[in-house]
């Protein structure tokens, strides 16, 4: 191999390494439970909040498309606000993972709701990814 090919290869490898590093730092999303989020919410950080939609907390206004509900892990609840129709499979007492950010006003501002299918097959939904089974298991075990 001639040196210039080695140099070229090194340049490509470095560029790729940089792109991956930059990509990860910019688009990393943290999985949290309501307890973890309430303990130390950071405004502007991207989270995926996983938990059960608390019974009696759901309110949906078709005229304004405002959706509000609480997500609970059995210990703590977090208020969530979303704009848009609740997705299929979403409902009170069911699992959901919500992507969004912590708003300074003290609620979780959702950009994407991923509802959890309870049966064997995890059905696709209005989503770009489904919840982590590990997370759901943790939640079901009592949120540790």
């Amino acid at each position: 191999m001639k040196p210039k090919f080695l140099v070229g290869g090194a340049v490509i490898a470095l560029a790729l390494g940089y792109m991956i590093w930059a990509g990860v730092t910019q688009s990393v999303v943290y999985f949290v439970t309501p307890s973890e989020l309430q303990a130390a919410p950071v405004t502007g950080k991207a989270y995926r909040l996983g938990g059960l939609v608390a019974r009696g907390s759901l309110s949906w206004n078709p005229a304004t498309l405002d959706l509000a509900f609480n997500v609970s892990d059995g210990k703590t609840t977090v208020p969530v606000r979303h704009r848009g129709t609740p997705p299929d499979l979403f409902g009170e007492g069911r699992g959901a993972v919500i992507e969004g950010q912590w708003a300074p006003e003290g609620y979780f501002k959702s950009t994407l709701i991923m509802a959890k299918h309870s049966e064997e097959y995890q059905a696709p939904h209005d989503t770009k990814a489904a919840p982590s089974p590990g997370l759901i298991k943790t939640l079901e075990a009592g949120g540790r």
Partner: protein, 649 residues
């Protein structure tokens, strides 16, 4: 009784496959033809038994034999006839059966085609292929028994996942699996070449067509998957960088690299080791994809249930990789290159760069996919990287690849002179830049879109330059234009088939660019008779109605498009209520167009039918992606046509 016969058949098939794999290897070592022939018979037996198993399973579905757990879990009395057949591959166990059946089928085709033409390699190819079939039969026997009984026998089944009741689900898995399993053949040949020490170019030219076909089916599987996602899931997208999409995309990337690097080996006797590694990597990635889908390690829209099956796949994957690496190490000395790279500005280095970029893309996709696992293992923090990561890292790589797509086929071998570059690329570069400028003047603001479309025009122009020049050369020999063009395509079908496939990729790239840049959406609640407008399309909500289908109830909204190209179109998005599901499933309705798709999803609705919430999308140029699939089919057909015989005077 039938299910027991089915399990029995699969068990016998397993024994036969193991026997065949072993005697084929023995036959090869001892040079005993009779043993290899015995292995051939075993392969035929395996295929017949697998087919029988599959037919028995279909029979169980058609007769609603709910004593079989797999049938009870994936159909019910209301499931329509054709979906009861396709329910065969609707879930984990059945998909393994289909997979094994396809490898069995490929094994038979290999026997028919290569029995005499590849005498030395052939017995080992048989060993590997039967070994792979044996693995899948083992999976069917131990962790995922498809004929397992259920006690007590339910009166009705649970039903097929409603999202799978779609024509896309009939074809998507079949195409995808034909692609996945197709790579078993080049892999088997690679292993055979390593074992026998015949690591020259024979094995790779022999399997070239296999690789193209497997690549084609995998491409088709990915595109149909995108179509299914687009018209069933109701989010208006076709690709989400979901772990399992990635799992199918990674072998596609490495196989694409392979299709190109094979040409370098054929022409310049270089990249032997690289090609062996790519074949093995591609096959390993198909297994890894299956492992991801079926083990539940990474959550995904496609994830099947968890179970011990993941361990089996991981163990087999480890076995495949270890054996391959050991073989490569053993044959290390013979895998060296005979040719040398002469210049950075040459076709070889363009192809090499294409390979490096494709493998880099594979690595980034792999990294992003397993990142949550890595992070949890290393730092005990649950994180994930979403679509932004994949887009950000891959877009520059893909744009570079499109650029190379224009350069590679025309640049000179060995060392390109300035004259060669000027002759081939001056006009295409000018046309590409002018096209980007015109688009800018027409109001295209996105830099990314301008770059992509400019590159697309550049590559198209290089292809045009080549075709025009070659046709002109034939015309100067006295042929008319059309026969000259036809003769060109026929005589150099591989080259021009490749060009058509490149055009297909460009069409898909335009579709992706257009839809990512210009699609718009809104969501609103409408009273009956009320109208709303998006991107020049006005729609009116005309009301709701209720109906009962064979296995579900349905609430349908009626919306009329009032203006534009789609004026008068009535769209009827619905919510389907399946008794076995806890909540309704959206049924999308759309009007596809070359430029605009009008796409409606019924969200919520008032019980009295007076109002409905609707997601209203105008998606741009998505149809180009599906058209690209058709062009891809044409190009592949052209590329795999038998080479024309030279006329013998």
């Amino acid at each position: 009784m039938i299910p027991e016969i089915g399990s029995g058949a699969l068990l016998v098939a397993l024994a036969l496959a193991v026997y065949g794999a072993v005697v084929a290897a023995l036959g090869a070592r001892r040079g005993q033809r009779a043993l290899v022939e015995s292995a051939q018979h075993a392969a035929l037996g395996v295929f017949i038994l697998l087919s029988a198993g599959m037919l028995l399973l279909i029979y169980a579905f058609l007769t609603f034999d709910f004593s079989v757990r797999y049938v009870a879990n994936n159909t019910n009395l209301g499931t329509p006839f054709y979906y009861r057949i396709t329910a065969l591959w609707g879930a984990l166990e059945g998909s393994i059966v289909l997979w094994a059946w396809m490898v069995g089928l490929y094994t038979l085709i290999v026997i028919l085609r290569h029995r005499t033409s590849a005498r030395e390699l052939y017995p080992w190819v048989l060993t590997v292929m039967l070994g792979v079939v044996a693995f899948f039969l083992l999976v069917m026997t131990v962790p995922a028994p498809v004929f397992a009984r259920m006690v007590p026998i339910p009166a009705d089944g649970r039903g097929l996942n409603p999202l799978l009741e779609d024509s896309g689900m009939i074809t998507h898995p079949v195409a995808l699996y034909l692609g996945f399993t197709g790579f078993t053949v080049p892999f088997a040949f690679a292993v055979a070449a390593l074992v026998t020490g015949r690591v020259g170019d024979f094995w790779i030219t022999t399997t070239r067509r296999w690789t193209i076909l497997a690549w084609y089916f995998l491409s088709l599987g990915l595109l149909i998957g995108g179509w299914w996602s687009y018209h069933v899931l109701g989010w208006g997208g076709y690709w989400a960088w979901d772990p399992v999409e990635n799992a199918a995309f990674m072998p596609w990337l490495t196989a694409t690299a392979l299709l190109h690097s094979v040409m370098i080996q054929e022409r310049r006797r270089m990249l032997r080791l690289w090609n062996v590694a790519l074949v093995i990597l591609t096959f390993a990635l198909t297994l890894f994809g299956t492992f991801l889908t079926r083990s539940g390690v990474i959550a995904s829209v496609h994830a099947f249930s968890q179970g011990s099956i993941g361990v089996f796949f991981l163990a087999f994957l480890a076995l495949v990789v270890l054996i391959s690496l050991a073989l490569i190490a053993w044959r290390w000395d013979t895998l060296g290159a005979q040719g040398e790279l002469d210049s950075v500005v040459s076709r070889e280095s363009a192809f090499l760069l294409n390979n490096v970029l494709l493998v880099a893309a594979t690595f980034t996709v792999f990294f992003g996919t397993v990142f949550p696992l890595l992070s949890e293992a290393v730092r005990d923090v649950k994180v994930s990287v979403g679509a932004p990561f994949f887009n950000q890292v891959n877009v520059p790589l893909f744009l570079s690849l499109i650029f190379l797509m224009g350069v590679g086929p025309l640049i000179a071998w060995r060392r390109a002179s300035v004259e060669n570059l000027r002759r081939n690329f001056l006009w295409p570069v000018v046309i590409g830049v002018v096209a980007a400028g015109v688009l800018r003047l027409l109001g295209v603001g996105s830099v990314l879109a301008l770059v992509t479309l400019g590159l697309t025009v550049f590559v198209t122009a290089t292809i045009a330059v080549d075709v025009v020049r070659a046709t002109r050369a034939r015309r100067s020999m006295g042929e008319r234009t059309l026969p000259a063009l036809g003769g060109l395509l026929r005589r150099h079908n591989r080259r021009y088939g490749g060009f058509v496939v490149h055009l297909a990729i460009l069409v898909v790239a335009v579709g992706v660019t257009g839809s990512q840049t210009w699609s718009v959406h809104t969501e609103t609640t409408l009273q009956r008779g009320e109208e709303t407008e998006l991107a020049g399309y006005r729609i009116r909500f005309d009301g709701l109605r209720e109906s009962q289908e064979s296995n579900h109830g349905k609430v349908t909204g009626t919306f009329t498009v009032l203006n534009g190209r789609a004026a008068g179109t009535v769209l009827e998005p619905a919510k389907k209520f399946y008794p076995q599901e806890q909540s309704p499933i959206a049924y999308v309705d759309y009007r596809l167009g070359l430029i605009d798709d009008v796409y409606l999803v019924l969200g919520d609705f008032a019980r009295d039918g007076t109002s409905a919430t609707v997601k209203f999308q105008v998606n741009r140029m998505v149809s180009w992606i599906w058209i690209g699939g058709l062009v891809l089919t044409l190009g592949t057909l052209l590329a795999v046509l038998p080479e024309p015989r030279r006329k013998v005077a």
